[in-house]
């Protein structure tokens, strides 16, 4: 259950003090990364934290100053959470948010507390137990905090994959297991620009909808490795979340993947319905909206109404269709290429 409370003046004051004090601490390592339109300076309190999270992001292309600072630190053993009313013993999520601040304790979902202070454009991720950070979380670090950083912009983090050809992008939404990852990585192998296979950023302005990378990561199941031998150089680790082997990829070293946003031409809801060839079909926007909004609300709690408004704008701006890739991925990519022309 999610407990959401707006306001909370005491918590907000403590959050503001906490962020300010954290920013004055020494940090062991820093990275300047690019997350969509934002340049973020990420400061890690120790090398373990850097090793856990840093490779999940693309380095910033320009040497310009960072627009946000994110401080990542780990709690000492037994150290209480630094916000009043927040406890490590609380298994449920706890959210306090306002226009200025966003404070989220993840509870049993993840050993993390996020504090985002919009006036100072600073955020903190406080990890209570480094060894408890799951591999899936390392592949998409700080997601709720990043979403909160985008709340005062038209950008939105969504659960979707995306590919582009010549800066014209297709967004693949839909349920897990429908083939979004396979499709996007096969596209990468076939010369498409890979934008993401799990979470990506969308610019929801109606006159210029666009997609941009959020994380420089992908995850391959064991049975997918042979299909993508060209990604072997991107492999960083084997993880065993839930006893399933996954090959963790960091794509930050692949220069052709860097780049800004690509114009969104099409939003496809990937859903297998038994077609023997790739198939495009009409779909109701309400179905797509409900599915995508549910994930946004759960994976990145808070600001439901403005985030839903952004998602609605996106669905108004981009043509939407249902897509069954069929059994052959090569045919699916050819159909997508033809659709873009």
């Amino acid at each position: 259950m999610i407990e959401a409370k707006r306001g909370g003046a005491i918590v907000e004051a403590a959050a503001s003090d906490f962020v300010r004090a954290t920013a004055t601490r020494p940090f062991a390592a820093s990275r300047i990364v690019e997350v969509g339109p934002l340049t973020i300076a990420i400061h890690f309190a120790d090398r373990d934290l850097e090793a856990l999270f840093a490779d999940a992001f693309y380095p910033a292309r320009a040497a310009s100053g960072a627009s946000w600072s994110l401080f990542v630190l780990a709690a000492a053993e037994g150290e209480p959470l630094p916000l009043p009313g927040f406890s490590q013993d609380e298994p449920d999520m706890r959210l306090v948010e306002s226009a200025e601040r966003y404070c989220l304790w993840m509870g049993r979902h993840s050993p993390s507390l996020y504090v985002v202070d919009r006036p100072s454009r600073r955020a903190v991720c406080w990890v209570t137990e480094k060894s408890a950070v799951k591999a899936w979380e390392r592949s998409r670090p700080f997601l709720p905090a990043l979403q909160a950083m985008f709340d005062d912009s038209p950008w939105l983090a969504v659960h979707a994959a995306a590919l582009a050809l010549a800066d014209r992008a297709i967004l693949f939404a839909g349920p897990g297991g429908a083939g979004k990852t396979t499709l996007s990585l096969a596209g990468l192998s076939a010369g498409w620009r890979f934008i993401g296979d799990d979470y990506v950023l969308v610019d929801t302005r109606e006159d210029a909808p666009a997609v941009a990378p959020l994380f420089a990561t992908a995850r391959l199941r064991d049975d997918m490795v042979a299909r993508f031998p060209n990604l072997a150089r991107a492999r960083t680790a084997i993880s065993h979340d839930f006893d399933e082997r996954r090959h963790e990829l960091s794509l930050r070293g692949i220069p052709e993947l860097r780049g800004g946003a690509a114009r969104l031409e099409r939003l496809l809801f990937v859903e297998r319905s038994g077609h023997l060839a790739p198939d495009f079909a009409p779909i109701r926007r309400s179905k797509v909206l409900a599915a995508m909004a549910a994930n946004i609300f759960i994976a990145t709690p808070g600001a439901r109404e403005p985030r839903l408004r952004k998602l609605s704008r996106l669905l108004t701006a981009a043509p939407v269709a249902r897509f069954d890739p069929g059994p052959r991925i090569e045919d699916a990519l050819a159909a997508l290429m033809a659709d873009l022309r």
Partner: protein
């Protein structure tokens, strides 16, 4: 007690938001997590009600027959029972109701959020990680 088709309504609160995609109307109840797609004359009825018109005004404007009028009354009752409409204190707007040709109103309800809310992040998440749900046959080992 007033006949519900004579009542004036508004969206039941800031948690109820709606979006017109042109070819369909979507209403979201952020408090309950349910989404609704309004079909047939459902979108016209919704627009008329949240603009301050009554169901009776809509029935008159749509020229629905007795069966159609009953459908409209049933649809309004359904919107109320889903917590999407609340009685408003202001009088009905006297200006004309804008309405297309009448078609039986209905709604489709989406419960995607409810499904995710019920996921146990430790025991039921898929290998892709929370908040994704295990597919049938998938296990944690």
């Amino acid at each position: 007690m007033s006949d519900p088709i004579d009542l004036v309504f508004s969206a039941s609160g800031p948690e109820v938001i709606f979006e017109n995609f042109g070819d369909e109307m979507v209403v979201a109840n952020l408090a309950s997590g349910f989404f609704y797609s309004l079909d047939g004359s459902g979108a016209d009825i919704w627009n008329a009600l949240v603009a301050g018109h009554t169901g009776r005004q809509f029935i008159a404007a749509s020229r629905a027959d007795a069966e159609g009028a009953a459908e409209i009354a049933r649809f309004i009752a359904e919107l109320r029972s889903e917590g999407l409409l609340a009685e408003a204190a202001h009088p009905a707007k006297p200006d004309p109701v804008s309405v297309a040709a009448f078609a039986r109103p209905s709604m489709q309800k989406f419960d995607d959020l409810q499904g995710l809310l019920l996921v146990d992040p430790i025991h039921e998440a898929s290998p892709a990680g929370w908040p994704f749900v295990q597919a049938p046959g998938e296990s944690h080992g």
